[in-house]
Symmetry: C2
Subunit: 302 residues, 2 copies
């Protein structure tokens, strides 16, 4: 399974019903947390996400609605007896803030916290394991800010059983076929790999664009993604206010998704001035049909 669960969809000012940004990316049995606004640890409990399974946390930028809940989550993980290491990726000052908060509380974490500073204006691979690859890219916001791209690792080639049997390839060799090897028969003749296999399915990709002003430079990062999250703090009429505050509107986000050839768009980070969310969809869908609202407690499958 590769999925995104929304824990919060609101911008700056949280309410009891709309929480600041936090998302859980699930792949197989692993969980990754993307941003961690105030109250995220309660949201994890509410939506029965097992915090002990979280191994990686990515913080896009240091506006409070994206990280004020992190120290509380880390603290609780330790109180609950976590021993597995936790990796946190975020702007360098975040480490200083966390360390100070632990120090004044005389807290020694029961697990290793590995902090990885995101370098300003940089881009690149953050980590790769056997299933997943995460990279980051700069996003234009009022302070240094980063988006994240989550890509399943490329799968193995698919054996076409009829073809393999036709060439009398023993099934014990199939796993090597999946790895792309050619087959050499007992008589020395070569069966080319691509005669008997199909290329692996394209690895699915989720792209999280964090908080961003309207920015066409994001298109290459969103290109062909299966799911893109782009903020829509404002409806289209407030495009000027959006630009002033380094945020985006519905029409802008949907336009980028369309131009990038994304498969699906998730919109969120709604300003707390809006009580109804339907207008966000009504404005986005004419520009990019396959748009959904990022709703709290909802899981979106890739």
């Amino acid at each position: 399974m590769f999925a995104v669960t929304i824990l919060g969809n609101n911008s700056a000012i949280p309410t009891p019903d709309r929480h600041p940004t936090a998302q859980v990316v699930t792949y197989n049995e692993q969980l990754m947390l993307v941003d961690c606004g105030e109250g995220t640890q309660m949201q994890l409990t509410r939506y029965k996400v097992r915090r002990s399974r979280i191994r990686y946390i990515f913080i896009s930028h240091l506006h409070g609605d994206h990280y004020f809940g992190l120290i509380g989550l880390i603290n609780s993980m330790s109180l609950l007896g976590r021993t597995e290491p936790l990796a946190v990726y975020g702007p360098p000052e975040l480490e200083e803030i966390l360390m100070m908060q632990l120090r004044v509380a005389a807290t020694t974490l029961r697990f290793e916290l590995h902090f990885h500073a995101l370098l300003p204006e940089a881009t690149g691979l953050l980590f790769r394991d056997k299933d997943m690859e995460v990279s980051y890219f700069p996003v234009k916001h009022r302070i240094p800010c980063y988006g994240f791209s989550f890509s399943m690792q490329r799968r193995k080639r698919r054996v076409i059983p009829e073809q393999a049997r036709a060439y009398e390839i023993p099934s014990a060799f199939y796993s090597k076929l999946q790895d792309g090897e050619d087959y050499e028969s007992k008589t020395g003749s070569i069966v080319k790999n691509d005669w008997v296999t199909l290329p692996p399915p394209r690895p699915k990709r989720y792209v999280y664009c964090a908080d961003s002003i309207y920015d066409e430079d994001l298109i290459p990062y969103m290109q062909d993604a299966d799911l893109v999250y782009h903020e829509t703090t404002y409806l289209a009429d407030l495009h000027q206010r959006a630009a002033e505050r380094y945020h985006s509107t519905t029409v802008q986000a949907a336009g980028l998704a369309a131009r990038a050839g994304a498969k699906r768009l998730l919109i969120g980070h709604f300003s707390s001035k809006y009580t109804e969310l339907q207008p966000f969809l009504d404005e986005s869908r004419p520009v990019f049909e396959n748009t959904d609202l990022a709703l709290e407690g909802t899981t979106y499958l890739l």
Copy 2:
């Protein structure tokens, strides 16, 4: 009105139903916040407490369940356009943490934040206005920690109308009688103030003991208080664990309240290991009858 509203009654690990410590002390139209665990700003919204009315915030100590929600609240106050100054009292490192969090977000508050550092092991008056007087005292916990005492200002003397009339004191002079002045009649004879007035009612007092190990040194601060809040993180059987972690049990808190001659006791800061709170009452009341559970969303009048 003089009252305490509980916004959170849980110890370290919050859940969606039990929040970390935060209380609102209301007197007349003013609000003061006492501790500010994660999610306090959402709790203020949930229980319709107007955050714009909060003028003073007191933070007892720098364990996260008592202050992780402060930066978010301050941030939201500014986003919501607050211009009135805000006074925050807490351990000195708190100022450093707040300032760093504002700095990395490039946030300039729209109001003045006056930070007052609580000095280690000190005690004394924090502020006094025409209605209220707040002082603090040291509490024994794993890190520097303070309790707070909220006392209504002494009221004016009460005129006994029958007596005042008997001495033919004109009613225009009554406000001076309330201030304690004697009355001199036209013939030059003196009517002593205490012949025609009664002493003012004793000023009501709320004492918040924060997180504390069992400590008889608290008794003088609790003495004769109308309402005392004392933590009971654990039930009586876990007194050893309580001591190890610098916390208290039901029987200990109730015992202190009884010895201090307090009028009423509020218990809270329950460990998240307990799902039922009734046993806390069952253990406290035999020791100190007038005990209540600090329940979220409940207001206790003095």
